[in-house]
Amino acid sequence: MNEEITAKLKEHLKEAFIEAVAPREGRLTVELSKECLLQAAEYLCREYDARLVTISATDLGLDIQLLYHFSIPKLLVNLKTIAPKEDLRIVSLTPSIFGANWIEREIHDLFGVEFEGHPDPRRLILSYEWPRDNTPLKGLRKGLASDFQKPTMENLLSTGQIFPMSLMAKRQRVEMKIPEVLPTTIANPEALDEVQTVVKGVGFDRRVGYDWKTKKMRY
């Protein structure tokens, strides 16, 4: 059943499907992007008569990880997705799966996740006097790299080298009659592309919270 569900979700979700892991018999975790969460959940309910057991949230430092646990006879399927702390909005399952109602309200109270489309987004477990911007289980946005390590990581991921090639260094190199730039990733876009493919392949960019658009850490 694991292989069948994995294959069908992969086909159904296309690029939103990230990966599937079956840690042991009767368990399947499918990681997907948050934009396709509703689509995947409705698919499981429609095709496999799945029942939402609960939703669990974890603060990963830079993101809130959400695990949607679905029960199918002899199998527990976890839909895993990430809500970055910069944008904690995610679609609410409540209009489709009413059992998500109180769980989403609880996660909103404790982690600040905004469940878009929730029909009754009142507080559930925090008192009404509790400050709006205080979400007790959500910590500060922080990643693995210390401030001292960030420039090293940013240079490595954006150029393949840990120090930038300055104009002064280039001028000195020319004056010393050595190649202005070595045939490394700095001068070879294909080699840099290989390095960045490796970075993505081992999940290092996600692990340290690197933003490929700004070429900076997210913190």
Binding site: Q149, L156, P183, T185, N188, V208
Partner: protein
């Protein structure tokens, strides 16, 4: 004869090009050719990526090694940090089949494969075993006998396959330095770290406790300069002295040279040709003495 590809490393190419210029000129004079490792990335350095993401550290180092393997070349470096990374990854992947398979699955996506067919060599080993001390001795045109030199081998030069082998490369380094004719002065803290990696955790400790202690002893030994064989150590000794002076009013004024630069001068290459004046430590004050013979 073995053919070598050189991984110059990030520090040399971007911050200390005089080391690269000296190495290239020195190897030319010795009639020994190396090829630049085309498409190389950072080794990657062992203090950040190895600590935060060991899988990336293995994979990028394995990619660099695979570039040399594909060209049937041995991989050579002039940096202790690069040597440490490449040596450890090479040996680990050769011995750990499951890790090698996992890393090769990652490399497969970019059409590369780590085979484990290449050896990683530090330049001191290459100079000793492939070039030969006799050939170097015969090529010395300017013995630097008026120079008192302290030596800092650097922690990663002690990296070896066996316990018995741990000080082979530091001893080779001493022999190479002696070939230049200098007076090698022992100061008792040769094996102490320069403090470069400690900057990750505690900059003040790195500078005041480690670097300043070492520089104090070197200064008391009345040497003309300190010779290192690692660009990372060179950066720590040079920029560290500037920081010690600016932040803690500690002034040591110790000139710092890389082994390749000392050897290049001894082989008759001029200091100007290899850009010795670009150093951030007071190398200028010994240039005249270096070229006085």
């Amino acid at each position: 004869m073995k053919q070598y590809a050189m991984l110059w490393g990030c520090t040399v190419q971007t911050r200390l090009p005089s080391i690269e210029a000296a190495t290239r000129r020195m190897l030319d004079v010795l009639g020994f050719s190396v090829r630049d490792l085309e498409g190389a990335s950072c080794c990657p350095e062992p203090y950040t990526s190895a600590l935060i993401g060991r899988e990336l550290w293995y994979a990028l180092a394995a990619r660099n090694i695979s570039l040399a393997e594909a060209r049937k070349l041995e991989l050579m470096t002039i940096c202790n940090g690069c040597y440490d990374t490449l040596f450890e990854v090479n040996e680990t992947l050769k011995q750990d089949d499951s890790l090698r398979e996992r890393i090769n699955l990652t490399l497969l996506k970019i059409g590369k494969e780590f085979k484990g067919s290449s050896e990683i060599r530090h330049i001191v080993e290459v100079l000793d075993e492939d070039v030969g001390l006799d050939r170097i001795a015969a090529s010395v045109k300017r013995p630097l006998s008026n120079l008192r030199v302290a030596l800092h081998p650097g922690c990663h030069l002690y990296r070896s396959k066996t316990m018995e082998d741990y000080d082979r490369k530091p001893k080779i380094l001493e022999n190479l330095v002696r070939l230049t004719g200098v007076q090698l002065i022992k100061y008792g803290l040769e094996k102490m770290c320069c403090g470069y990696p400690q900057r990750q955790a505690d900059e003040e400790m790195s500078l005041k406790t480690t670097l300043a202690t070492k520089l104090q002893r070197i200064q008391e030994s009345h040497v003309d300069c300190l010779v290192v064989v690692c660009p990372g150590c060179c950066v720590q000794f040079e920029y560290g002295q500037i920081e010690l002076r600016q932040r803690y009013n500690l002034d040591f004024g110790v000139p710092v040279l890389h082994l390749a630069e000392l050897m290049a001068v001894a082989l008759g290459i001029s200091a100007a040709e290899i850009g010795l004046e670009t150093h951030r430590s007071p190398v200028g004050k010994i240039i005249a003495r270096l070229e006085s013979r």
